[in-house]
């Protein structure tokens, strides 16, 4: 080994490495740095002993502490279930009216309902439940299938044209598309429906459509046009229109007969959560309708 080279200026040995005339001094590492380094080694060994560390053929060394993120998550979920259990039990055992009338239970149902609504219902009905064209507004007092607590809960449970065996179903035929009525008849009927909602319409057309309405529409929408909730037939005399109120929209609906779909939530949510959701929708519809209002409405 050759004689170590010394730097003239500082008197410190060099490493013998040289780059572009720059040589590296071989100063010792700072003591504290070495301590940190040795300390890290000690920490690593302690970590191997305490925590899961080494992979094996069939698994890994579990460590003395037996720490497991999976088990932690399971435990936290369990704790959450216990924590929610009380509220869930109360929701499941109390009646819908009791839930709504008790301030604490109502608050609980509203918070449960809000999060479930946001995750599942808002996609179609909007985050505030205000609905959109083709998707009913849940905040007003117009209900296709009834706005009492029980009816809302029932709709939530079985859905509309859903996979549920007891699903709610209504059928608006596509009169024009399926050739049941010709274009002129559809136009006449459109005028008749506009008239039903109290707006000015072509009197001649209305007269021509009188019999058409009685033959094709009155069965569901009733002769006076107020609709029938048992059949899910909308009221044609009010100012709210699911698919639009102008003549083109009405004509389009008579021609094409669109029918919306709502999934069944039974099995997806526990009965308690469905109750909470029903109360949430009912409360946010300004208290909705009292039970039994459906029969009285038309």
């Amino acid at each position: 080994m050759s004689e170590p080279e010394r730097d003239d200026h500082s008197g410190v040995e060099t490493t013998g490495h040289e780059w572009d005339g720059i040589r590296e001094l071989d100063n010792p590492l700072p003591r504290w740095w070495l301590w940190v380094f040795y300390g890290s080694i000690v920490v690593a060994v302690v970590y191997w002993i305490l925590m899961p560390a080494w992979p094996g053929l069939k698994g890994y060394t579990p460590g003395v502490l037996r720490q497991s993120d999976r088990a932690d998550v399971a435990e936290q979920l369990q704790a959450l279930q216990v924590q929610r259990g009380r509220g869930e039990t109360m929701l499941a055992t109390a009646s819908l009216q009791q839930i709504e009338a008790d301030p604490d239970l109502q608050a609980h149902a509203l918070s449960v309902g809000q999060s479930v609504f946001g995750d599942n219902c808002a996609t179609c009905h909007g985050a505030g439940g205000g609905g959109a064209r083709g998707y009913p507004n849940l905040r007003d007092d117009v209900w296709l299938w009834g706005g009492s607590l029980e009816e809302i809960e029932h709709t939530l449970r079985v859905g509309v044209r859903s996979a549920h065996p007891e699903t709610r179903t209504s059928q608006m035929p596509a009169f024009g598309r399926d050739g049941m009525l010709n274009a002129a008849q559809v136009s006449d009927l459109t005028e008749y429906v506009v008239r039903l909602s109290g707006r000015p319409a072509d009197a001649a057309a209305v007269g021509r459509a009188q019999q058409l309405y009685a033959d094709n529409c009155a069965a569901c929408h009733t002769p006076t046009g107020v609709g029938d909730r048992l059949l899910g037939a909308p009221d044609l005399t009010d100012r709210e229109w699911l698919y639009g109120s102008d003549r083109n929209s009405i004509r389009g609906q008579i021609h094409n007969g669109r029918n919306g779909v709502m999934p069944t939530w039974e099995g997806r949510f526990s009965p308690g959560v469905i109750k909470a959701l029903a109360v949430y929708v009912h409360v946010n519809a300004g208290g909705g309708e009292a039970s039994g209002a459906a029969a009285a409405a038309p």
Partner: protein, 495 residues
């Protein structure tokens, strides 16, 4: 004249005596980037100010340790601790006062009040806070007392530190540090009682089921107490605390401070018993004021950054003056102006009422008045109306318009309240809260000590629908207390 001595700059070479600490500083100055702490060995002194300091130490430590154990009966499941910062429940309890997190401005006001009081006291009487009441001073005093128990007074401590390691030195040092750590643990241990129910925590703490925050806080406080009061002491005041820097702006030549009366003391020099006192000052240069100083300074250099105004040098000097038969008060609480006046042979005048003290006094009175006003007009019920924004308004089948609101009713009291809610400003509007019987006004019960959210809906009839958004109010009546909460009613798009 106030002299603030900035130790970060080199001073011009000076003659005459300088403190031990100053000599050490000069010796250490050129070496390296950081300098080692110069050990200070304050000598025990007796006298009026020392006595006051002991008394205050006992009183303040007693307050600190006893306060969390005072019980205060509160209704229901509320904590029965007189002073409690309840993070879990989100409440601050102070005897009959109960503060919610949103009332943090009362704490802000209290801090402003404390700051202004500090300004006023400093302008009048110098750094009384630093010398007598600051926890750093109190705990350092306690730690020096413990140190003295094991290692003896100044000279004994200096000898012990200089001596090589021996059994005697080992047990004294070990004992001192053990008691220090014990005292530090006592400090941190008492602190956590302010945040949890004390009788419950003292049990759970030892069985290991107390909250982690209690252990961590206790450990941190133990560590800082041990380090600050045991090892860093005057360095905390000199290097870490901003107050010594700020004090320069509070003090003027009319502020009472621990002052060396140079008019009487100079020219100083040793004095033999038989010698005359004619033609010389009273200072016999005995250095007693320096050796008792916990900050390691020489008060005869004038007012300085490090001086905490504890008055121990006054006691030391008075003792010496008694011995040599000169009047007391060569070092005393005095003003720079008074000393300067005496130096010129004039009669000193003390002015407590000055522009500065008036400002501070007025500011203190104003903030104090605001606090009293805030507390006296504090409402039991705090109501906020949150208007629904999505949808902002809902049109009903007959053309009527409905708006939804969430009323957040905070009942700060300890008893349930029955309130009546009216809605005003919108013609023909009806108010309804789902799940509650319809009535006008809407009557409901709000639970004590919590926020009750209430969903309410207001419907304006179809024949009275107006344009756009109109101002409206909720009127909330609870007993004789009526509150008006402003909001708006949105008629939405007209069709």
């Amino acid at each position: 004249m106030t002299i603030i001595i900035d130790r970060t700059r080199d001073r011009a070479a000076k003659t005459g005596p300088v403190s031990v600490a100053e000599k050490q500083r000069e010796k250490n100055r050129p070496k390296g980037l950081y300098k080692a702490r110069v050990p200070i060995y304050p000598k025990l002194v007796h006298g009026r100010w020392r006595w006051i300091k002991w008394a205050l130490l006992i009183v303040m430590l007693a307050i600190y340790y006893i306060t969390p154990w005072i019980r205060w009966d509160r209704p229901g499941a509320l904590p029965d601790q007189a002073v409690l910062v309840d993070f879990d429940g989100g409440r601050f309890y102070f005897f009959m006062i109960q503060l919610w997190p949103q009332e943090v401005y009362f704490i802000t006001g209290l801090l402003v009040l404390a700051a202004l009081a500090l300004f006023l006291v400093t302008a009048l009487f110098g750094r009384l806070w630093c010398g007598y009441a600051c926890p750093q001073t109190v705990w350092t005093d306690l730690y020096i007392y413990i140190e003295r128990m094991f290692e003896g007074d100044r000279n004994a401590r200096m000898r012990l530190d200089a001596a090589p390691m021996s059994f005697n030195k080992l047990w004294r040092k070990t004992g001192k540090h053990a008691v220090w750590i014990g005292a530090a643990f006592g400090t941190g241990g008492a602190w956590i009682f302010y945040f949890h129910d004390a009788p419950d925590l003292i049990r759970t703490f030892w069985v290991g089921t107390a909250p982690m925050t209690a252990y961590v806080s206790c450990a941190i406080l133990t560590f800082t107490t041990y380090v600050f009061a045991g090892h860093m002491r005057e360095q905390v005041c000199t290097y870490m605390c901003p107050w010594p820097r700020i004090q320069g702006a509070m003090l003027d030549d009319q502020s009472f401070q621990v002052t060396y009366r140079y008019d009487r003391g100079e020219p100083r020099g040793p004095h033999k018993k038989a010698e005359t006192w004619e033609g010389r000052g009273d200072c016999i240069d005995c250095n007693q004021c320096v050796v008792v100083c916990p900050m390691g300074i020489d008060i005869r250099d004038g007012a300085q950054l490090e001086c905490i105004n504890c008055g121990l040098c006054i006691d030391a000097c008075n003792e010496v003056m008694d011995k040599v038969g000169r009047p007391r008060g060569l070092i005393a609480y005095d003003t720079d102006a008074a000393v300067a006046a005496r130096n010129c042979g004039q009669k000193p005048k003390h002015r407590l009422i000055r522009a500065r003290t008036l400002y501070y006094g007025i500011a203190l009175a104003v903030v104090g008045g605001l606090m009293i006003w805030g507390f006296s007009t504090r409402k039991t019920l705090d109501v906020h109306a949150l208007r629904d924004r999505n949808p902002a308004s809902v049109r009903l089948h007959d053309g009527a318009v409905r708006n939804g609101y969430t009323l957040k009713i905070a009942n700060h009291g300890f008893e349930a309240a029955t309130i009546e809610i009216r809605y005003a400003g919108i013609p023909g509007a009806t108010l309804r809260s789902p799940g509650r019987p319809a009535s006008d006004p809407l009557s409901l019960r709000v639970d004590p000590n919590r926020v009750t959210p209430v969903r309410v809906f207001v419907t304006a009839p179809a024949d009275q629908v107006q344009e756009g958004s109109q101002p409206a109010t909720f009127e909330i009546r609870s007993g004789d207390e009526v509150q008006t909460v402003r909001t708006a009613f949105d008629y939405g798009e007209t069709r």
